[in-house]
Amino acid sequence: MTRQVLKRLAGMVVVLLLVCLFTYVIFFVLSPDPAVQICGKNCTPAKIDQIRDNLGLNRPFWAQFWTFLSGLFVGRTYGEGIQCSAPCLGYSFQSSQSVTSMMVQRFPVSLTVAVGAAVLWLLAGLVSGLIGAINEGKFIDRFISGLTFAGMSIPNYVLALVLQFVLVVTLRWLPFPQAVAFGDDPVQWFLNFLMPWIVLAVGYAASYTRLTRANVIEALQENYVRTARSKGLRPSVVWRRHALRPALTPIVTIFGMDFAGLLGGAVITETVFGLNGIGKMASDAITKNDQPVIMGVTLLAAFLVVVGNMVVDLVYTAIDPRVRIGASA
C-alpha cells in the first residue's frame, strides 16, 4: 500500500512538473513583453532594456524556468524590492500584487460556490437517479431522463441569464448575487449564493442522475443481488449493501475529480454573476491580458485536478474491496 502511494506521488510530481513546463513554455513564447507593460507611457528602448535586465528577462529560457520553479518553493524577488513569498506563482504588475495573495483573497468565494453547488448536485443527482432506477421505464423515469437531457444541454451562462431575468428582475424573489460573507448574514448569504449554486449544479446534477440510474439498474441485475434476495434478506438490506454500494462507488471517483476541478474557479458562473472568485479573476485577467495571473490560475487548476485525482484513487482503494485486493496482490 505504501509503495503504491509513493509510486502515485512520484507520478503526480512528474505530471505537475510537465504541466509547469508546458504552461511556462507557452506563456514564455506567447506573452507580450512584461517589460513593455511595466514601462508604461514614457518609454525608451534603453529603459525597457533596463527593466528586462532587472527582471532577468534577458537570461536563457532554462534559467528563467528554474527561477520560476524555485519561486514556487522558496519565493523570489522581482527586480528591485518586489518580494513574492513562498508559493510564488508569479507577480501581477497590473494589480501590483502577487498572484498567490490574489488567489488567497478570492479562494473563499470559489470554495463557497463549489461546495454549495456540489451539495445541491449530489442530492439532486442521487435522488433523481434512484427514483429513475426504481421506476425504470415508467413515466417518471422518462420524465427525469428528458429533464437530464435539457439539463446537460443548457449552457450555464444561458441558464444564469434566464434565472436572473425570472427570479431577480421579474419575480424579485432573489437579490442579484453578491459575495455576502456567511458570518455577516447567513440568510442573505444563502439567498445570494443560491442562484450561482443552481446554475453551476444543473449540468452536473443531470449527468449524475444518468450515472446513478445506469449504475443502480446494472447492479440490480447482478447475480449477487439475486442471491441476496433469494436467501431472504430484507429489501432494505439488499438495497443498501448489495445494490447501492457498488453502484455509488464509481460516483465517488467522478465527484472527486469534478469537485477538484471546480475549486480552481468556476470561470463562467463566477463571471456571469460577478462573484469575485478565482474563476472571475481568470476571466478578468484575460480581458486585461494579465499573463502571470492566467498562468497562475492554470497551474492552480492543474494542481487541484492532479491532487484530486490521486486522493480519489486512494479513497477508491479504501472503499472498493475489489481494488484493495487487486492492489495488494
Partner: protein, 318 residues
C-alpha cells in the same frame, strides 16, 4: 465546467460493444429517425445547417445584413434600447435588433450558425482523425508507441481543459481565431475517442479473422484498413455523434468568455455575452441566441443518444 463534463462524460460511460454483422446504412438511418424526438432533432440540425450554408441568401431575403447598423431601430434617448416592444421585433427585423448599434438579430443568428457549425464540425473531424489514428497505432502496434500515446492521453485528460484553452487562446494573436479554436478543441478532445479505439483495437487484434489475415501475410496497413477499421466504425460513429454537442458548447462558451470567435463576426456565444448587460431591459437579446444554442446542443444530444442505442443494441432492427 459543464463543457468539460459533457466532453468527459461522452468519453466515460459509452463503450459500445462490437456489433457483428454490419447492417445496411439506410436501414440504420431509418431506425434512428423512427423516434419522434430524434426525427425532430435531426430536422432542427438540418435547419441550422441550411442557415449556415445559405446565410447570405437568407439574409438577402430578410433584408438586413449581419453587420448593418440600423439607427432608426434604436432609441438614442433611452440609452440605445430597441424601438418597439419585444426587443424591436418588426416586419423589418424579424428577431428584433441589438441595443445600441441596431444590428439585425435574425441576420446575426443566421450567420452565427456558421461559426457554431463550422467550428463544431471541423473539430469533430479533426478529433476523430486524431483519435482514430492515435488509438489504432497505440492499440495495434503496442510497445513504445503505446506507452507514449497512453501517457500523453493521461496528461491531456488530467489537464483543466477549459482554463487552459482560455489561457492559450487569450495569449495567441486573434487573427485566424477560428482555426485556433478548432485546433485547441481537438488537441484536448482526441484522447476520449483514442482511449476507446485503443481498447477495442487491442481486443480485435486477438480475434481469429485478424490473426488469419496476418498469418496469410497481409501487411499491417492492410490488416488495419481492411480488417480492424471497418469493425471500429460503429464505435467511431457513436462516439463522434455524442461528442458534437460538447464541441458546440465549448465554442459558444469560449466565445462567451471573449476568447472565441472574434467580433464583428457573429457567434451565438458572443451574442449572449453581449446581452448580459441588457437582460433586464431587453430580454429578447439573450432569448434568441440562447434558445438557438440550447436547442442545437439538445438536438445533437438526443440524436447522439439515439444513434448510440441503435448502433449498440441493434434496437428495432430485428
Amino acid at each position: 465546467m459543464s463543457i468539460a463534463t459533457t466532453i468527459s462524460e461522452v468519453g466515460g460511460d459509452t463503450e459500445p460493444t462490437l456489433t457483428d454483422a454490419p447492417r445496411r446504412g439506410s436501414k440504420i438511418i431509418r431506425d434512428i429517425l423512427s423516434s419522434p424526438g430524434s426525427a425532430l432533432s435531426a430536422a432542427y440540425i438540418v435547419l441550422v445547417l441550411c442557415m449556415a450554408v445559405f446565410a447570405p441568401l437568407i439574409v438577402k431575403l430578410s433584408g438586413w445584413g449581419p453587420y448593418a447598423f440600423d439607427e432608426a431601430a434604436i432609441d438614442p434617448n433611452m440609452g440605445g434600447v430597441p424601438v418597439g416592444s419585444l426587443g424591436g421585433i418588426s416586419s423589418d427585423h424579424w428577431f428584433g435588433v441589438e441595443p445600441v448599434n441596431g444590428r439585425d438579430i435574425f441576420a446575426r443568428i443566421v450567420y452565427g450558425a456558421r461559426a457554431s457549425m463550422v467550428i463544431a464540425l471541423a473539430s469533430t473531424a479533426l478529433t476523430t482523425l486524431m483519435g482514430v489514428i492515435f488509438g489504432l497505432v497505440a492499440g495495434y502496434f503496442g510497445g513504445i508507441a503505446d506507452t507514449i500515446i497512453s501517457r500523453l492521453m493521461e496528461f491531456l485528460m488530467a489537464f483543466p481543459a477549459l482554463i487552459f484553452m482560455i489561457a492559450i487562446l487569450s495569449a495567441l494573436p486573434a487573427d485566424n481565431r477560428q482555426y485556433l479554436l478548432v485546433l485547441v478543441i481537438s488537441v484536448f478532445g482526441w484522447p476520449y475517442l483514442a482511449r476507446v479505439v485503443r481498447g477495442q483495437t487491442l481486443s480485435l487484434k486477438q480475434r481469429e479473422f485478424v490473426e488469419s489475415a496476418r498469418a496469410s501475410g497481409a501487411a499491417s496497413s492492410q490488416v488495419i484498413f481492411r480488417e480492424i477499421l471497418p469493425n471500429l466504425l460503429p464505435t467511431i460513429i457513436v462516439m463522434t455523434t455524442l461528442a458534437i454537442p460538447g464541441y458546440i458548447g465549448t465554442e459558444a462558451g469560449l466565445s462567451f468568455l471573449g476568447v472565441g470567435v472574434v467580433p464583428p463576426t457573429p457567434s451565438w456565444g458572443q451574442m449572449i455575452a453581449a446581452s448580459t448587460n441588457w437582460y433586464s431591459v431587453d430580454p429578447m437579446f439573450f432569448i434568441f441566441p440562447g434558445l438557438f444554442l440550447f436547442m442545437l446542443v439538445l438536438s445533437f444530444m438526443v440524436l447522439g443518444e439515439r444513434v448510440r442505442r441503435v448502433v449498440e443494441v441493434g434496437e428495432i432492427s430485428s
